[in-house]
Symmetry: C2
Subunit: 254 residues, 2 copies
Amino acid sequence: MPKPAADRALSLQLGVDRSSPVPLYFQLAQQLESAIEKGRLAPGTLLGNEIDLAQRLGLSRPTVRQAIQSLVDKGLLVRRRGVGTQVVHSQVKRPLELSSLYDDLEAAGQRPATRVLGNTLEPATAEVAAALGVAEGDEVRRIERLRLAHGEPMAYLRNHLPAGPLAMADAELQATGLYRLMRSAGITLHSARQSVGARAADAVEGERLGEPAGAPLLTMERVTFDDTGRAVEFGSHVYRASRYSFEFQLLVRP
Amino acid sequence: MPKPAADRALSLQLGVDRSSPVPLYFQLAQQLESAIEKGRLAPGTLLGNEIDLAQRLGLSRPTVRQAIQSLVDKGLLVRRRGVGTQVVHSQVKRPLELSSLYDDLEAAGQRPATRVLGNTLEPATAEVAAALGVAEGDEVRRIERLRLAHGEPMAYLRNHLPAGPLAMADAELQATGLYRLMRSAGITLHSARQSVGARAADAVEGERLGEPAGAPLLTMERVTFDDTGRAVEFGSHVYRASRYSFEFQLLVRP
DNA sequence: GAGGTTCGATTGTCCGGACAAAGGATTGAC
DNA sequence: GTCAATCCTTTGTCCGGACAATCGAACCTC
């Protein structure tokens, strides 16, 4: 019986540019990722063994492995010893990044807008001081915003930042998200602790968000740290449950 | 002025066992992680350069790098070219795993219990069929459970699984979590798509969970995939917002 | 003293090779 | 035919080395 042609990714027009400053493994990873995304590498396809792949590309095996490993970490590929590397068969989107609501809405095609309700310096309450790791009474910046999509209120956002050198103009806060502002101010975000819950709206919250009192709200508290481990932001947000939910994908750590 | 002694991790009693079947890089990573966890490596400490570290341990630099890299991926270390590798300065816990409520409660010291309300085979509705990727009307297993902690209801869990060979005895479902059962049945979980929202309880839900009608509930829908990309579970859960919230930590992808 | 320059330290990338371990397929024994 | 032993393929781990890119600090110039 003639063996069916192996389900391999042979002619994919892969190739790297050695004069580019982009690392070789990264170039390869990008090409593979794009091939998977565009369907040129169908789910379930075997990638072909690493040694051949390296030889055909004129790369060493460690370089090819590094490229493959990065896609395994993203959940796009699966390796099995003795079998090979296979394109994962499912709808992988984004494995839950630390994203701002602004960027999320923008990516979803909603047109986000921000109404700045407050932007002041004030002494830290006990709760804020504990979250940010500063002394109670220290000056912190308090920002209150209403986030809208298509003109409809979506969420009420309250943030506290350590009163650092970075000035936050209301105009900037209206035009973009807080995270983008912080990043462009040279802060490298590293990790965040989040807590997601629900509660009923009180009268004031209902008024702000256009919901009746008692309506269910989705709440999210978050403390964000930079790579030195200092807290750089404490957010306390409420979302209209009727109009918003958190969607994300997560991977199992092997 | 005498320069203060470099804040280095020198004498840490690191060492690997070459006769062990555990990979060397993994042994080293474990030792470093435990040293960080136990405070023997204080936040901010420089790890010392990779070459020396390798030489002192009798390892090659790639092996040491692999160990360090795995901790960087976990968010415990930060690397900076020209500077060194530093212990991250913050409270890193768990970067959001695909965990079951049962395990979460158990780890938190709550004593979880399960009341199995239903465990039947029935034809898939359109919604379930779409989530699991089977044909409408195909037989699927429907499991309904009430999860309790300290005797109090915490959540109502409804799951649908493809009607595979794996039999689910009520006794097993009572004693442990669904994920643990699936794993021990040889299913390798790979990724999941989740959606977290909130809504008001209706009368039936309120009754089941011991909340008044209209109380805010936290909802979570999840489709879990194995490493071949097939959906292996569709869950539709509601939690008492007054007693439960999702807590997790997430890292920024560089 | 202020500012730019050079230099050492450290990680980032890449190479080529070697052997071990696991999974699947083939072969052989019964 | 069924089951176990064997072989082959493929990834996993590990080594040693080389050069480039980046950061911080010391140094020098003005």
